[in-house]
């Protein structure tokens, strides 16, 4: 159900509504005028009891400099104001990022344009933060629904695949009706690389490229520059250093790309599939049938390969796997990815804080106590690791594919989880089992990796990988055209500059990044920075009709074409296209101003109007069943 139509389709039903509304407006005006002539009117403005006729004032904010969010706000402004010019007034205000966050924290932002990218490929990683009342965005929007919470928990713990898919479909359908969020865009990929490269596969769960996929000719092919090097892959990427190369702490894509090439997890995504997992350090994917999943989905048993070497030449054992998980939970960085493990491995996980170095003890004190961790994960024997979950959670297999599930060499890390006072050795050094070994990281310049000769599969075809930060987009494009770079990050606005001979383009495949508009159902009126621009009550968006009016007033095609240069599709809900749980039969919100007007008409203003026009219109509406 992609909303790709250039013009909104108007159904016969919606046309009928238009006629009805026009009639009502005329009737209301005539009625009101008649009452005024007969002495029933006064100088005060009439109130019709609904937001369409009475209008409203609202201020939308975007973080200054974010042209896409600014455009989204402007689209809403233009379309909503068109519904009742002069009465509906939307003010669009750009604020600094810090103020944007402040407004959001204070609950003073009525409508929030935000984005979300998944941590692991499971619908629970979408519906939980958006729809569960403990979720980040649900709580931010003041939305809570006990029944829905139960449905979310039920779907998250369902072991049967078909039944689980059906439950997510039901959640998506219900949420379409509820319209808590307006899903504006699901980004699609745009990838440009030299035509001498082979092996590229796009997977929305990859952080950057997996260089093991690639090969390139040893000798210079046609169009290659004089300095062509068949042993080196040069990736020119945007500016930005990894926050950390430690898989227990790193929680962003710049570091994630390095980790996904140097470290390995027990399982990983199969090629371009975000659904199918394949064993990497394990011998097979745990299932109920092979005994890997037991006790109604609360026990996971991974059998490990015995031929895996770390980059420090130590052989991987189950103790390394157990230690890697223990380390992540011991560090338990509140801004890191440890929660993905802790949420299902540790009882009352959110009661525990971060681990830290203790000067008095001269040692690192774990955040989650070691005895609690020991009950959650242990090495059954030299090549078996067992996990004890607090509840059934099929997404656990996928959560373990995130970098936080990376296996590191215990011998290499040494004591205190690699910490010496506040210095974390793993922040800028790595020792994994992956096809590439970490060589160097020169900040603001480049990261170098080298193929690991003793890799447990065929060694990587390309010997060296250089990931170079080139801040300027034009420079990156020149490097690609020149052939100096094998692949570059292309700015969205410059996509057409690389559509030339010698460069292969892959585009249009859905990423799992979704943009959305959150509607605040508990607006903090007192904290409005410009109170004169808002006259709605705090529960303005608690009215479903208002939310639906906004959903139908947004021109999705315009936003995607003009704002995102066509590199997106319109999502039909929280679960993005391509992910398990996505269902194409869930409808999308259409851009339809007539429907928007109708929904606003149905949205009642707080005080029921006493004006003649209002009574007149409301009486008619009541008679026809609204």
């Amino acid at each position: 159900m992609e909303g790709t139509a250039a013009e909104p389709k108007k159904s016969k039903g919606s046309m009928a509504i238009v006629f009805l509304l026009v009639g009502l407006l005329i009737g209301a005006a005539v009625g009101a005028g008649a009452m005024m002539v007969l002495g029933g009117g006064d100088d005060e403005e009439e109130s019709y009891g609904n937001y369409l006729l009475d209008g409203f004032k609202l201020e939308l904010f975007y973080n200054a400099g974010n042209v896409n969010r600014e455009m989204a706000c402007q689209i809403l402004k233009q379309n909503l104001e068109e519904l009742n010019p002069g009465k509906i007034v939307i003010t669009v205000t750009g604020v600094e990022w810090s103020q944007y966050l402040e407004l959001r924290t204070e609950g003073a932002m009525p409508a929030m344009f935000l984005g979300w990218a998944p941590d692991y490929a499971d619908p629970d990683n979408y519906v939980q933060p958006f729809y569960h009342q403990s979720g980040t965005y649900a709580s931010m929007c003041g939305y809570g629904n006990d029944t829905l919470d139960e449905m979310i928990t039920d779907a998250a713990t369902e072991l049967d695949v078909d039944a689980r898919a059906a439950k997510y479909k039901q959640i998506s359908m219900d949420m379409y009706e509820e319209c808590v969020f307006i899903w504006t865009a699901q980004a699609t990929n745009f990838h440009a690389e030299r035509d001498w490269l082979t092996g590229y596969e796009f997977n929305p769960m990859f952080s950057g490229l997996i260089y093991y996929q690639y090969d390139k000719p040893d000798t210079a092919p046609a169009g290659a520059p004089a300095g062509y090097d068949g042993d080196t892959f040069l990736m020119a990427t945007i500016s930005g250093n990894p926050e950390s190369l430690d898989p227990a702490i790193g929680y962003e894509t710049a570091g994630g790309e390095i980790m996904q090439n140097v470290y390995e997890t027990l399982l990983f995504y199969n090629g371009s599939s975000a659904d199918e997992l394949v064993p990497v350090l394990a011998t097979e994917v745990p299932t109920v049938d092979n005994g890997g999943i037991q006790d109604n989905g609360t026990t996971y048993i991974y059998n490990l390969r015995t031929d895996v070497k770390f980059h420090d030449n130590n052989t991987m054992t189950s103790e390394d796997v157990r230690y890697s998980i223990e380390r992540a939970l011991a560090i338990n960085d509140p801004h890191g990815p440890a929660w993905m493990l802790g949420q299902v491995l540790i009882p009352d996980y959110y009661d525990y804080g971060a681990g830290e170095w203790n000067d008095t003890q001269g040692a690192f004190v774990p955040g989650v106590p070691l005895d609690v961790i020991a009950d959650a994960v242990w090495a059954s024997d030299a090549d078996t690791v067992q996990f004890n979950l607090t509840t059934a959670y099929p997404a656990f297999l996928y959560a373990m594919c995130y970098n936080v599930g990376s296996v590191i060499s215990k011998a290499w890390v040494g004591e205190d989880y690699g910490f010496d006072e506040d210095v974390n050795m793993l922040a800028d050094d790595m020792c994994g089992t992956g096809p590439y070994a970490f060589v160097s990281w020169e900040r603001d310049n480049q990261i170098i990796m080298k193929a690991f000769a003793d890799y447990h599969e065929e060694p990587a075809a390309i010997e060296n990988v250089i990931i170079k930060q080139v801040a300027d987009g034009t420079t990156r494009i020149l490097m690609l055209k020149n052939g100096e770079a094998d692949c570059v990050a292309v700015p969205r606005a410059q996509m057409n500059d690389v559509r030339v001979d010698g460069i292969n383009i892959t585009e249009g495949i859905g990423t799992f990044n979704v943009d959305f508009l959150g509607l605040n159902q508990d607006l903090n009126i007192e904290a409005q920075p410009n109170p004169e621009n808002t006259n709605v009550p705090s529960d303005f968006f608690a009215d479903k009709h208002v939310r639906l009016a906004f959903a139908h007033a947004f021109n999705y095609d315009q936003y995607i074409e003009d704002g995102l240069a066509g590199t997106a599709i319109q999502p039909n809900g929280a679960i993005p296209q391509g992910m398990f749980g996505y269902d194409a039969s869930v409808p999308i919100y259409t851009y339809d101003l007539d429907l928007a007007a109708f929904q606003l008409y149905l949205a009642k203003t707080p005080v029921e109007a006493e004006g003649a026009g209002a009574n007149f219109v409301n009486e008619i509406m009541a008679r026809i069943g609204f």
Partner: protein, 339 residues
């Protein structure tokens, strides 16, 4: 001894200057937005945001925050640079050599070319050389740095392939980890270890960014040098020298140049400080991993610790460069007394 006392006195004067700079910059970072913004992302829950406020004292009054920060500065704990994933002091030491190398090459180019052009214009006043130099100077101060950088890159890298796109050295030296780290300046380190191929390679890499960076400074130095040279050439001692029958070359390059250098030295000194802190665009376009690129990223990512550290360091450099300029005055003009 008088010189040593003077230098010590000037160094003590650093303290109020740095205190003033730090108060201004710290206040600006606090009033220009919420300093917590750099540590908060859209995925954080309110309790995580509260932890950030508590950890960095953002929930306390600004003066309390300043005292915490100043205490850290005194104890060489300048905070954590989120952008560099390093302590700020380490980050400054990390990025400084690259910027210093680029600045030194640029300023050397500016000095030699600017002085030559300035003297030449003064000597050939209102001739073709003077007019040409004036046009070049005008272009130099008018051209936006980013535009010049992109044009140089397009022509000399992409079109003719004469120079690399950016970076400090070719990949092969990084892959073989054969770049020595003695001073952090590759041009010097390569000579120190006798790796002339690396020296040549580093020189090849620095040409385009150095030309870009020095172009504006060349223009300014040329104009200042021309004016002061014209003034000096009209003085009596030059007339005396001519009357004595000294050859014109000796008069210009030996007698006039030295005195004309005094105002030029001030400009060069200030430009040096400016180049160290202002190579943001040049470093970004030529992928030069220096202070400019780091500070620009820090500003973009609301990394106020880094911004404060950068400003403080630039202030220190400015004061030190001014000190060096004042000392050089005494050398260039013995009439100047250092008191």
């Amino acid at each position: 001894m008088r010189l040593a006392n003077y230098i010590i006195k000037r160094l003590f004067l650093l303290i109020p200057v740095l205190l003033g700079v730090s108060i201004i910059v710290f206040t600006l970072t606090r009033i220009s937005g919420n300093p917590a913004a750099g540590y908060i992302n859209e995925k954080m829950t309110p309790s995580q945001i509260a932890q950030v406020y508590e950890k960095y004292h953002f929930d306390e009054p600004v003066y309390t925050q300043f005292i915490y920060w100043l205490d850290g500065i005194i104890h060489l704990d300048w905070g954590w640079s989120k952008t560099a994933a390093l302590p700020v002091t380490d980050a400054l030491a990390y990025y400084f050599p690259a910027t210093l190398e680029l600045t030194l090459v640029s300023i050397i180019m500016a000095i030699f070319i600017g002085i030559y052009l300035g003297i030449g214009s003064a000597v050939r006043r209102n001739k073709l050389f003077d007019h040409s130099t004036r046009v070049i100077s005008l272009i130099g101060v008018s051209l936006p740095v980013f535009w010049l950088a992109l044009i140089l890159q397009f022509v000399f890298y992409y079109y003719y392939g004469l120079f690399p796109s950016g970076g400090r050295a070719s990949n092969i030296y990084y892959l073989t980890q054969s770049i020595p780290d003695i001073t952090g300046l590759i041009l010097i380190d390569s000579l120190l270890v006798g790796n002339f191929a690396l020296f040549k390679d580093a020189l090849w890499h620095i040409v385009l960014p150095a030309v870009t960076l020095s172009f504006g400074t060349i223009a300014i130095v040329t104009r200042i040098m021309r004016n002061s040279m014209l003034e000096v050439l009209s003085l009596d001692y030059i007339k005396t020298a001519r009357a004595k029958g000294l050859n014109e070359r000796s008069i210009i390059w030996k007698h006039a140049r030295k005195n004309a250098m005094i105002p030029t030295t001030t400009v060069i000194g200030l430009s040096f400080g400016g180049l160290l802190g202002g190579a943001v665009l040049t470093e970004s376009i030529f992928s030069w991993p220096g202070l400019g690129k780091w500070s620009a990223n820090s500003i973009r990512l609301f990394d106020y610790n880094s911004v404060l550290g950068f400003c403080l360091m630039i202030a220190i450099i400015y004061v030190l460069v001014n000190l060096v300029v004042d000392v050089m005055y005494a050398y260039l003009d013995p009439r100047v007394r250092l008191e």
